[in-house]
């Protein structure tokens, strides 16, 4: 008998394959996007979520401190002033897990999210806006870390 986790993992993999093959609209991806979270670059993460190549834009912003005293807890935010945004992503370029979060925004919330990430070392942090029409825009900020925050 399949465990629930096995069943979910299977359906996630299948959904991921179908999506990247273009058979599923983004909205049908209900399970955790494994491929996106396995991605090693911002471009790959966006692609895994069905978006096009990311383009830098002044209309997307990533907020955070210039320097974090401890990488274990780094407050970061992602926002955009562009209308028609479907998702906002946060990525930490040099982390083993590059993609930190995918926020699926609805019209009921402002496209402006704040959370906290772990950073293993000084790195660029990216905020990515994935639009309804498939376009992808990003902003980058370098955050210096004085002490690694991943169990060190």
């Amino acid at each position: 008998m399949q465990t629930r986790r096995e069943m979910l993992t299977r359906s996630a993999t299948v959904a991921g394959l179908l999506a990247s093959a273009g058979f599923l609209p983004l909205t049908a991806l209900a399970a955790w996007p494994q491929a996106a979270f396995d991605a090693k670059t911002m471009a790959d993460a966006a692609k895994a979520l069905g978006g096009s190549a990311p383009v830098e834009s002044k209309d997307v912003s990533v907020s955070g401190p210039d320097i974090a005293e401890n990488g274990a807890v780094v407050p970061v935010g992602c926002a955009t002033t562009l209308p028609g945004v479907k998702r906002l992503l946060l990525l930490v370029e040099k982390n083993p897990s590059v993609l930190a979060a995918v926020f699926n925004v609805t019209d009921a919330v402002e496209p402006n999210l704040n959370t906290r990430v772990k950073m293993g070392q000084s790195s660029n942090v990216f905020a990515v806006a994935m639009m309804n029409d498939g376009k992808v825009f990003f902003a980058a900020k370098e955050i210096k870390v004085t002490l690694g925050g991943c169990g060190g």
Partner: protein
Amino acid sequence: MGKRSLIGLAAMALCVGAQAQKTTADGIAEYRKMLEDGNPAELFEAKGEELWKQKRGPKNASLEQCDLGQGPGVVKGAFVTLPRYFADTQRVQDLESRLVSCMATLQGFDAAEIAKTPFGRGEMANVTALATWVASMSRGMRFNLPQGHPAERQSYEVGKRAFFFRAGSHDFACATCHAEDGKRIRLQELPNLTKNPGDGIGFAAWPAYRVSNGQMWGMQLRLNDCFRQQRFPYPGFGSEVTIDLATFMGVNAKGSESIAPSIKR
């Protein structure tokens, strides 16, 4: 330069605009400010409040009759007058040892067992959560430890001797790091604890949530770790030396504002 003026500098730098060259110290001050809202210590505060009110232990009683120095059940304002002398136990006690006394007397827990439990585990973790909540109930109030009782004055004097006592393989004393203005280790400022180091600094900042390990630290664990860093043997939980050091720091901090529970690296 005290932390206050650093934060003042940071605020000025931010007001003037991003053009102003920010120093590392300004950057750190900005980082700390960003973390003030949404301190995970709140999770421990909530747990502590629940534990205070919950009927627990062999006697199935709550801690709501616990006397923290202001009378049974009075929590607000208690934190800023500890350590102090308690007539029922006939000794000066700090917040954490007093909580354990109440857990023993009111709820029937074994005080010695709790004292032996490592920080972060079992009932010791509950003591930390309780201390976090009790401290939060005095947030913004100013330290005013009593020194009316001879035992309280003695606690201060012994604490002072202990503070300056050099020992261990490295001949360290608390004073080695904490008896001068303007010292730091890497990016950590070392407050001068022989006097009032300012609002929310030193004694006035613990218990604190440490982001580096995601742990909640009360003053007992903070002192325990100071001993470790000085290559001293570990002090017993709630031992006299830890209480007397707390009295020394707390009395020196008279008038400073408590920001506990705070957030630390």
